[in-house]
Amino acid sequence: MIEVRDLVYEYPTKRALEGVSLSVAAQTITALVGPNGAGKTTLLRCLAALESPYTGAVMIDGLDTREAPRQIHERLGYLPDFYGLYDELMVRRCLTYAARSHGIAPALAGPAVERAAKRVGLLDRLESKAGELSRGLRQRLAIAQSIVHEPKVLLLDEPAAGLDPQARRDLSALLVALREGGMTLVVSSHILAELEDYCSEMIIIDNGRVVGGKPIKVREVERARYLIELATARSDLGDFLKGAGIDVLEADEHHALIHFTANPGARAKLIRDLVTAGFEVASFGGSSKALEDAYFKEVHKEGGA
């Protein structure tokens, strides 16, 4: 759905993106992560055909952003990190304007507005003024404006910034629902832990380049990781686990960090086997932050290289 080839983008005094190439499959959610100033927003704006590449090409749904920006805009929704709303308009009118300006016929605009409002949970606020909404509800309205025309591609720049935990959870659920509805999403975020909930791929941008040169498959790093702690040291802990066919990430005589299935029955069996083999298991706990670890691993690898 999205193809980027050797993208170079320049500001007058700085090259913001250097040789970025990536590919995003249809009906997936891809996380775009990286430190501040890495080039995430610039890349999103290039994907949205709001900025033209200096060299290279950006293709959205088979269309080149340089050749057919307006056709791409018809297929695309974009929520910038800093966005504005028409505070004096009612939510219904904000959404009607968004629908009509995206080419939805007058007769179809009403149902499209209702559908978008329902998706983001704003049905009961349609007659409220946008300026009277809370921050979380404004975020929902902005997303609703971006999806009212059912775009094929949705780009979101820091959509969870400033939201409370419940609103973030709702946002995650909404993004998954949109993906299941057929959209392809690219989400820029700093909050790696939440990306694990809904992303299938992670692209790390640092210093204008894709770190590692390619996206990371989240399903490969998000396998549950567990830390086993022993009360009494046993130097054969690692060998025992490897012998049981378990993916051991790290092991010494006191600890072992393993990749293991999230199935509770399988975990119970492993604990039983360890105890039966004479290991004094003091604790067996989940180690989260898989995506975060993968991020830092890649960034440090790049820095070391």
Partner: protein
């Protein structure tokens, strides 16, 4: 209905605001009638200019700039509205409240006009009042769109300058109307003749001026449309600007009869005068556009890449208006030089003068580009304007004061002995500036990469 226009209707024409406008205008007319100090038509005209021209120009100027300030412009740019829909929606949507108030004033004016001047004069008046409003608002919108392309900030003062651009355009329309109107009396220096000589024809001044006004208003709207296309990431191509240049060249060249009234020009051929007028027009546009257009170093580097790669279509598709104007100036000037060579072989000084004019034009355009490559406070058009002021005014004044008149040929076009001295000096400067500017553009590419690394 145009969605952008409709959105503006929702925001601007609320029942409360409409009621407020009606009440205020009714009170104004009532007060005027009570005091007897103002005629209703005079007050209506004053209020029309205030509401539609002055206030309307401001609303048009802020229609895009306000969206950028309120961070809603990106979502509008991402809509599927065409450039024309967006332009009309903004131009008439953002000013719809002004037109609502203006319509009330216009109704009073027309009723008064019909009662006193008859139907034809009333219809012409109505056309003029609507036209002057559109001229002011579209010129303001155009100025703001040009500023948006230059990525300027959008302070109140800058918005005021866009509004002033609209008011200047409206003043031009007002002057033309006054000059064309036999009953006009507000402008003391009216045209001394009822006829205008143009391309050898004696044309009725009123008809000529009103048609000119309509054509220039249309070009202003075309300008708004093309700037809007750029904002929506659509490519313009050089052909519309080239058509405008051809139109302007032909339009201005038609006024050759006005020049022959000058004894110094009396013995010049009509063709030479017309070519000179066209070349001067194009040179003026080169200066205006090189000042107004964003001199984007990244774009220039990209254009250089396209030229080196032989992709002329891409180069022309993204070439800026000042470049096309410069090319037109050079082309017409060469035609003029050739014509002089054929028709007046004795006028070598005139050929040298034209070549030196081209050299200084090239140098000056290069200075504007060069100043965009400088770091920090030196970067920008202000520095270029200061340098040009020094080159054309300050340094020549000092040299003149010191009695070094011969050295003035280094600073502006003039006849010299030997005849090609001034031209050689001008082109030497142009070459130096061009080499430095191109060199620095290439250098900034390297430093941009280094800044990333």
């Amino acid at each position: 209905m145009n969605p952008e226009f409709r959105r503006n209707l929702w925001l601007e024409l609320t029942p409360r605001r409409m009621t407020l406008m009606v009440v205020i205008l009714a009170l104004a007319f009532f007060a005027a009638a009570l005091t007897g100090q103002y005629r209703p038509a005079g007050l209506a005209e004053f209020l029309y200019y205030m509401i539609v021209v002055i206030w309307g120009a401001r609303n048009a100027a802020i229609s895009v700039v306000g969206e950028i300030r309120d961070r809603t412009w990106d979502s509008q740019r991402l809509s599927s509205l065409g450039a024309g829909e967006m332009m009309w929606g903004k131009l008439f949507g953002s000013t719809i409240y002004n037109w609502f108030g203006g319509a009330i004033c216009l109704a009073v004016l027309l009723i008064y006009g019909f009662a006193n001047n008859g139907l034809v004069a009333t219809i012409l008046d109505a056309i003029y009042y609507v036209a002057v409003g559109i001229v002011a608002q579209s010129a303001s919108l155009l100025a703001s769109l040009v500023a948006v392309r230059r990525r300027q900030s959008h302070t109140r003062f800058e918005i005021f300058t866009y509004q002033v651009a609209g008011l200047i355009a409206a003043l031009g329309a007002f002057y033309i109307w006054e000059a064309a109107d036999p009953a006009g009396s507000l402008v003391p220096r009216k045209l001394p003749t009822d006829f205008i000589p143009w391309w050898g024809q004696r044309l009725d001044a009123r008809v000529f001026l009103l048609i000119s006004l309509a054509i220039f208003t249309s070009w202003t709207l075309v300008g708004c449309y093309r700037q809007m296309r750029l904002e929506l990431k659509m490519r313009n191509g050089p052909w519309v600007w080239a058509s405008f240049l051809i139109f302007m060249g032909l339009y201005v060249a038609g006024f050759d009869a006005w020049l022959t009234q000058d004894p110094k020009m009396a013995d010049w051929s009509t063709v030479a005068l017309r070519l000179a007028l066209a070349a001067t027009t194009y040179a003026t546009f080169t200066y205006v556009m090189v000042l107004l257009e964003p001199k984007d170093r990244v774009l220039y580097r990209w254009l250089g890449t396209q030229l080196r790669g032989g992709r002329l279509d891409r180069f022309l598709g993204s070439a800026q208006a000042w470049m096309t104007s410069y090319l037109a100036t050079v082309t017409v000037s060469i035609a003029l030089i050739v014509w002089i060579g054929v028709s007046r072989p004795d006028a070598l000084w005139a050929q040298a003068f034209i070549v030196s004019c081209l050299g200084f034009l090239t140098r000056d355009a290069g200075i504007f580009v060069l100043f965009q490559t400088f770091p920090g406070r030196w970067r920008g058009d202000f520095g270029a304007v200061i340098v040009l002021f020094a080159l054309y005014a300050l340094v020549p004044a000092v040299l003149d004061g010191l009695g070094l008149k011969a050295a003035l040929a280094l600073f502006y076009p003039q006849s010299t002995e030997p005849v090609w001295l001034c031209a050689a000096a001008a082109w030497a400067q142009a070459l130096v500036v061009a080499v430095i500017a191109i060199g620095r553009l290439a250098l900034t590419e390297k430093s941009a990469v280094a800044a990333r690394a």
